[in-house]
Symmetry: C2
Subunit: 404 residues, 2 copies
Amino acid sequence: MADIENAFITLPAGFKANGVSAGLKDNGALDLGLVVSDLPCTVSGVYTSNLVKGHSLVRTINLINTGKKVRGIVVNTRVANAGVGKDGVSDADKIASAVAESLGVSSEEILTGSTGTIGVRLPVDKITAAVPGLVEGLSTQEQAAHNAALAIMTTDTVPKEAGATITMSDGREVSIAAIAKGSGMIHPNLATMISVFTTDADIDGKLLDGILHRAVSHTFNRVSVDGDTSVCDMVIVLANGKSGVTVEDGSEDAKLFEEAMTKISEDIARMIASDGEGATKFIEVEVFGASNDKDALNIVTAVARSPLVKTAIFGEDANIGRILTAVGYSGAKFDPEKIDITVNGMLFFRDGVCVPFDEDEAAKLLAEHDIHIVIKLSEGEAYDRMFTCDFSYDYVKINGSYRT
Amino acid sequence: MADIENAFITLPAGFKANGVSAGLKDNGALDLGLVVSDLPCTVSGVYTSNLVKGHSLVRTINLINTGKKVRGIVVNTRVANAGVGKDGVSDADKIASAVAESLGVSSEEILTGSTGTIGVRLPVDKITAAVPGLVEGLSTQEQAAHNAALAIMTTDTVPKEAGATITMSDGREVSIAAIAKGSGMIHPNLATMISVFTTDADIDGKLLDGILHRAVSHTFNRVSVDGDTSVCDMVIVLANGKSGVTVEDGSEDAKLFEEAMTKISEDIARMIASDGEGATKFIEVEVFGASNDKDALNIVTAVARSPLVKTAIFGEDANIGRILTAVGYSGAKFDPEKIDITVNGMLFFRDGVCVPFDEDEAAKLLAEHDIHIVIKLSEGEAYDRMFTCDFSYDYVKINGSYRT
């Protein structure tokens, strides 16, 4: 597998993309993105576990559940198209129809995604007016592909793009690429609002479903920015088969393909955590030796979610007792006299007791951008990890006036 | 029951209190508090559910579990006496012994509480040096009692004191009073770090236990500041019987006594939420019509804990979709098309659909200090509520540099 630097969503053969401004964002920034395939695509999706779901997302879930092939997905930002009732359903239909008409395909072949404020109607006229330009600019070129990644951003400060080309067992190549938006209201399950994957592999829908779910489980579903799980989350994979390479269930190629999907998912998950709202630090929390998987997940979740841990890291304050506290209230069973806590290689707690440490050395470690918390228990073999970021003044600023 | 304005912890007969500076806080503020009774007290406690527990707290739990009567409790701030191993146990013993010696009682009659930074040794010498002055100044007077409330504060901006005098069925009076400290690392169970109740009722330990647990369950255990449950939390009741009034299980007096305990607990719980770290708003979240108690609790917890809801309220931004979102991911089962959300009397969502609202009117409502969120479902009869506060820049500031 070759990681592609500066990978674009159009890396896999047969995909085009574009992003334009439909005037939803005040500043004229890109806010409407489109990814389409020349060929019909097998499609698989993973969606938010929030009981409340946005109307654009519900439409996409219903279409994917029919098992029919699709051609692409159109995503707008600024308005979530959620909590507005039946109007929200017809608004999403109108946008998909406008895109489908411009492309000369059926509206059922165009999936929809929306992200932004809840309880506000989509400005359908503005969006449909922008569709002809959006479709006309579709291209395999880097700039157009990059525009799609830019157009789905909300409070993200950088676009999220990743991709890889895999050499299969017979020497032929398959590519996978992804774009995603973070960056707030992020917590398992699901961890990001919207991510779109493309691949030119020829792959059965059921196999693709399995690979996607496994790839997401320890990557996208291990990112927490603020503990809030949004109503619009989805990860969608479009597989158009254009490489001519068929990925068979149980084959070596399926393994290679899954490895690449997982790697790209992890790359994107790390990007989302790094670019969490107001983030100044990337934080990785790992636990070893928990008694079972549930305890391991509870521990990394409690630590990654703790506002006290996150503000201490923002302040570069070695208040490591807060990590011990979070592990203690996580609900996991463990012996508090057998816990070690290491941060960026420095041991702060051994067997539950604070190790005297040099404040200057600790300050130097905590000044780093990447903070790596390792918790070791002696209960069993279970392991888990989570990606998050610190909690800064800017998180409060961004979210105290999100709508305005 | 007569609520006492400006009630002090020495309101019940036979209690004295005091607070002094032992030099633990840099600025010379009070940091060592003591509450003692002339007579031996029946004692009952509720403690943090955190698996990691501070050494001063563990000592208190062990003493209470013996069932023996006690004389009082000494509490220090700034250092939590947690995560320091066996030294922490002997440090707490030394402080209790110093207090006991000054009072002429046994050290097992003096409970201990500590709150502050984890992983740091208590400065025992400083504390024991301050004990003679602490004991000498013990008094029933308001100033001394008030000093005890001041001395247990950490990042609290105001002391928490409440009390009531109850006229029993035979016309005799019993008093109850309480002090508490908040104000961060607060989430059920338990919601406050340390609270001490006094009463001059004569009451059996088992009955007192039951009343305390019930009083705490919907008051202290319904406060969330930041979702973090500390390792030092306790609520302790000292009952010295000096009023001569015996409260019998199953009596009308027991009911009156429990009502007063619950009312005082609620008053203190509201004070703690109002004075949450960096708080500019008090928030009460109520849910009606949930299908069962667990769902009702999950809903108010999710909303009260959501950083997105709390920052929106800080910013006075009517982003009510975030409340809908939090209810949706709470884990509770409900029909998203049958949810109404009202904030300070204004209906924002009816049957899951956003009601068009006047931004100016919404801004006026959200400018109020007290924010009252009411969520109505149509699933059943279950009700719950939670007290919290908003999330401000100051929360980040306070917690980014707590140790310094």
